[in-house]
């Protein structure tokens, strides 16, 4: 008797538990958006836009189930993308292999200098030019892959979150040799932790050569007069310095010049850059309650965190065992430190830095700062304060579990509210990728798409300052930007983007022969989520009716032109790396008519700029 009773009780508990969890997913308040709107909304916010037929699929599956799936990307198969990524071998190489495979010009010059050559022969110049060209190729692979992933991956939320964190932990591809460390940064530092624990992500970034070089921590060493750990560094002591200087006096002028150059580059003392941005941009936020003294103490704690120079050709592995992160005890300031009220004992090494990362990731301001940024990206340019606070509470409760914080945000009533719906403006990256996805595009393995994003004002990995690209629309929308977005729509609709022929959009072939009004209805449904005012509909409809225009055949031929132009893996000159790739196909665009025109108008319309 008792057992049955407890069984019933247990069953009741399980049932109640299930009901509770169901309610917590769908929210205790009825959502303001229809099922179809919710599907469009998640595809715009938690993905880079809907592919043909995808809204229907999400509606059929149920939006909550889709969200659940996306929150566990490791369980989402992504075979198509994996095949595409095989086309980018450079991205799987380690940074030291990249440096050997695609050496920067400086390396060849140093090699020549060491050999005693002083004049550049013609062969040398050509070799330098080839090096530069190959450098551009691997950089453009990097940029092209970022676009390709966003366009093709099934793990869309993971892509959105990787984009978010790459921006939060911004690095600039144009600085020094940072580009060699970018594949590692994107693939093995940010991506694996994008929905993981914030402390793990922070730690991976803090040790990444990309960040250590970008914010100069790699050359931050203890100020002279501070105690360091072991090693001492022969040349830094008084006796050592005297011996080294005597040696230098005996060198000839050319050798002395080289030594002096190396000495100029040797770090001289504490560098506060990373420490400051760690507090200001990565964790607490500028008003998070830290002082300039905290910045200095954090910088001291992080001395010694550096980059191991990659193995040179012909030499064995370095003492630390290869490339990447290295902790140099002789550069570490081993004095006691006081960081945000916490005392760090003297005499410790790498633990100082690790403890600082623990302290800042658990600071209450960090939970608020990160949550606010996430709510801004996912919900609204004016993040609702209550939602930010609930997300921060989740952050604190789960010790920085990003997945759970995102879950709190994207299952909230605010997320699915009418004011949030289509309230955000797409960034250049988002508008380009969503246009390609709307056409059912496959990956563009050339640099072309990435260069389009650059033309719209967001060269990938090209933001110089550490604060990253803005998360709000007002920063993106200005006179020139709108023009470029309109022109983007026309470029895409002319079928010029490799991997995105118009016939790749399933309805295209049949629809091209249909009357204009039917084309307009279909395009509005597909590209604008069915949302268009009567005036908009009329404006789009008032073009040439393809049944009457001889231009029909011409318009369909446009997408074959792109293929005929051979824009496959062949190198498009002037790749998209760094600032301002000036090509990008905005010249000599054909006049669009018929269905391509309707598509171009839709992609350039104000509605398409929103997500």
């Amino acid at each position: 008797m008792r057992r049955a009773g407890s069984l019933v009780t247990a069953a009741a508990i399980v049932l109640v538990g299930t009901a509770w969890s169901v309610r917590s997913v769908s929210g205790s308040v009825a959502r303001e958006l229809s099922a179809r709107e919710q599907a469009a909304h998640v595809l715009n916010r938690l993905a880079f836009g809907a592919r043909p037929g995808e809204i229907d699929r999400v509606v059929a599956m149920g939006v909550d189930r889709w969200i659940d799936q996306q929150l566990r990307p490791d369980r989402v198969p992504d075979r198509d993308l994996e095949q595409v990524m095989a086309a980018y071998p450079a991205l799987r190489m380690s940074s030291s292999d990249l440096l050997q495979e695609y050496p920067p010009a400086a390396v060849r010059l140093v090699q020549r200098r060491l050999r005693g050559d002083t004049m550049l022969t013609r062969e040398d110049s050509m070799e330098l030019r080839r090096d530069a060209q190959r450098n551009r190729e691997f950089v453009s692979d990097l940029l092209s892959a970022k676009v390709a992933r966003a366009v093709m991956s099934e793990r869309q939320l993971a892509e959105v979150m990787t984009d978010f964190w790459e921006n939060h932990f911004n690095v600039f591809i144009g600085k020094g040799q940072l580009r060699y460390y970018l594949p590692e940064y994107s693939e093995r530092t940010i991506r694996p932790y994008a929905l993981g624990r914030f402390r793990d992500l922070l730690g991976a970034v803090a040790r990444s050569p990309a960040m250590l070089l970008y914010l100069d921590n790699a050359q931050s060493v203890a100020d002279s007069g501070r105690p360091t750990l072991g090693g001492g560094g022969f040349a830094r002591g008084r006796v050592g310095r005297a011996i080294v200087n005597r040696r230098i006096q005996r060198m000839d002028s050319a050798q002395r010049a080289m030594v002096e150059q190396v000495q100029q580059r040797r770090p001289r003392g504490l560098n506060e850059n990373y420490a400051r941005e760690l507090l200001e941009l990565h964790t607490l936020g500028v008003d998070g309650g830290y002082t300039q003294q905290d910045v200095i103490e954090v910088a001291r704690a992080l001395t010694g965190w550096g980059v191991n120079p990659p193995r040179q050709a012909g030499r064995g592995r370095g003492a630390q065992g290869g490339d990447g992160f290295v902790f140099r005890p002789q550069a570490h300031d081993a004095g006691a430190k006081l960081v945000l009220g916490h005392t760090l004992k003297a005499g410790r090494g790498i633990e100082d830095g690790e403890e600082v990362l623990d302290i800042v990731s658990r600071h209450p301001s960090t939970a608020m700062f990160i949550s606010r940024k996430l709510v801004t990206r996912l919900v609204s340019d004016e993040p609702p304060q209550d939602l930010v606070e609930r997300a921060a509470a989740t952050f604190k409760r789960t010790d920085g579990d990003i997945r759970e914080v995102v879950r709190t945000i994207v299952t909230s009533a605010e997320f699915f509210s009418r004011p949030a719906y289509r309230s955000k403006v797409k960034s250049p990256f988002e508008v380009t990728v969503s246009a390609l996805r709307a056409l059912g595009a496959r990956a563009d393995t050339t640099p072309f798409s990435a260069s389009l994003v650059g033309r719209l004002g967001q060269p990938l990995y090209g933001h110089q300052a550490p604060n990253g690209w803005p998360e709000t629309g007002a920063a993106w929308i200005n006179t020139g930007a709108i023009l470029n977005r309109i022109n983007l729509g026309i470029v895409v609709a002319s079928g010029r983007v490799p991997g995105a022929p118009l016939r790749g959009w399933p309805p295209f072939a049949t629809l091209a022969r249909a009357p204009r009004t039917e084309q307009v209805d279909s395009v509005i449904a597909s590209f604008l989520s069915g949302r268009a005012s009567p005036e908009t509909r009329e404006i789009l409809a008032s073009g040439n009716n393809p049944l009457m225009a001889r231009a029909t055949a011409d318009s369909i031929m446009l997408d074959d032109t792109a293929a005929a132009m051979g824009m496959e893996r062949g190198r498009v000159v002037g790749g998209g790396g760094g600032r301002g790739g000036r090509q990008g196909g905005f010249q000599r665009l054909p006049q669009l008519t018929g269905l391509p025109q309707v598509i171009g108008l839709a992609l350039g319309s104000p509605e398409f700029q929103r997500r």
């Binding site: 110089q464 300052a465 007002a474 000036r582 006049q591």
Partner: protein, 417 residues
């Protein structure tokens, strides 16, 4: 001309967009027209890559210059020698490739400045450009550029209050907005005038414009409407074949053509106040050449383009200042590859009708070893902010520069009469 009110959040409140017929008639080319806008104009040119100031404004009176650069120094001025420096004042000379600047110097329009630059010790291109464009050396947290802060702070002459409303008040002839113009004040970046239009035009453009006129007055619609107005404004003043005046001959290089378009914008009266362009190729670590070679080729294009702009603008140069800058200079001693490595102080040129040209400005610190910065570079005697502040106040008429160069209170400096 009626005024357009541009509300900052992007929602454009059009008072009237009255382009009166007489305005259209006046905005044509070849005709001598009084500027519809009387505003002062600044053209900022950035030589990216650390241009070698010592081989641009040559201290031919310095023994150490020749001792340090056995293969790449420019010979002392000597009559009849094409490869020698063009003497300016008995101590300094111009690189022969800058010969287009000689006339400007003699006419009092050109003020070279030596030993000017950033106090920051950085020798990173990226950081140094960042500091020179943000206007805050050694501070990386600055999010906007000093020219953008100026736009927020300032005012030109009284009768040009209308200039503030123009979408073309600040134009950068670059594919993206440069750091120096980043910030909340509206600016336009365009690769070329011809591209500032809806491509593949025909009725697509009209339809798109109609799309942006219907619908809610929001950020996107507002910016869209404004864009179409700007395109029309530009097209009304931008016929297909622009004819430079006064025989100005722009080089066919990208830099030359960009300056030509800046001239077009200035003359068309669309309300430009600040123009920006940059030019690369200055990072001459290897084989920079001397009187001829890599650097000389860059300097030829550089000076001919600027000289063409000055010629083309003619009398308008009274209201225009052209300023060139570079993130730092290059080392005094040549390196082992026939070039020079990164240095410290560099050189600038200021050109304009109101400028006290015909003399080399700045304080020359000397090139003997003990006079060098860190024993290797030209020492800094004028902070770049002093030069920028001088131009912003004396030329463009800004009164309060504290927000533009926060934390700077350097000594006064002026190239103006």
């Amino acid at each position: 001309m009626h005024r357009r009110v541009f509300v900052k959040d992007g929602a454009l409140a059009l008072v009237t967009m009255g382009l009166s017929p007489s305005f259209l008639r006046r905005a044509t080319f070849g005709a001598r027209l009084e500027a519809t806008r009387k505003g002062k104009i600044l053209v900022c040119l950035f030589q990216r890559g650390a241009a070698d100031g010592l081989n641009m404004i040559i201290p031919h009176g310095e023994r150490a210059y020749y001792a340090s650069r056995p293969n790449i120094a420019i010979p002392r001025p000597r009559s009849g020698a094409n490869e020698a420096a063009i003497d300016l004042d008995g101590f300094f000379g111009l690189h022969p490739a800058l010969e287009s600047f000689e006339r400007l110097y003699r006419d009092g329009l050109l003020a070279p400045i030596q030993a000017v630059g950033s106090p920051s010790a950085t020798r990173s291109h990226f950081d140094a450009q960042d500091y020179m464009e943000s206007g805050t050396p050694d501070r990386k947290s600055t999010q906007d550029g000093w020219l953008n802060r100026y736009l927020a702070v300032k005012g030109t002459c009284q009768e040009c209050a209308a200039a503030e409303a123009s979408p073309f008040r600040a134009v950068s002839m670059t594919p993206q907005t440069p750091r120096i113009l980043e910030g909340p004040s509206a600016t336009v970046a365009m690769n070329s005038l011809g591209e500032f239009t809806v491509r593949g035009a025909g009725d697509s453009a009209e339809r798109l414009e109609a799309l942006y006129r219907t619908g809610e007055a929001d950020l996107v619609h507002g910016a869209g409407r404004e864009m179409f107005e700007a395109v029309k404004l530009l097209q009304s003043a931008n016929p297909q074949r622009y004819q430079p005046e006064n025989g100005a001959d722009y080089p066919r290089s990208q830099f030359g053509q960009r300056l030509r378009e800046i001239a077009q914008l200035i003359k068309s009266g669309v309300g430009i106040e600040v123009a920006f362009a940059d030019v690369g190729g200055w990072d001459t670590h290897v084989n920079q050449g001397a009187s001829t070679g890599q650097l000389a080729a860059r300097l030829t294009d550089f000076s001919r383009s600027i000289a063409a702009l000055v010629t083309d603008l003619g009398d308008r140069m009274n209201d225009v200042v052209i300023l060139s800058m570079s993130e730092f200079g290059r080392m005094v001693r040549q390196n082992g590859n026939g070039g020079t490595d990164h240095g410290h102080a560099g050189a600038m040129f200021v050109i304009g009708g109101a400028v006290r040209g015909g003399k080399v400005h700045g304080t020359w610190p000397g090139l003997e070893r003990e006079q060098l910065y860190e024993g290797r570079d030209l020492a800094l005697t004028t902070d770049f902010r002093a030069v920028f502040a001088d131009i912003l106040t004396k030329h463009l008429g800004a009164s309060n520069l504290a927000p533009v160069f926060p934390g700077y209170d350097g000594k006064a400096f002026s190239v103006f009469r």
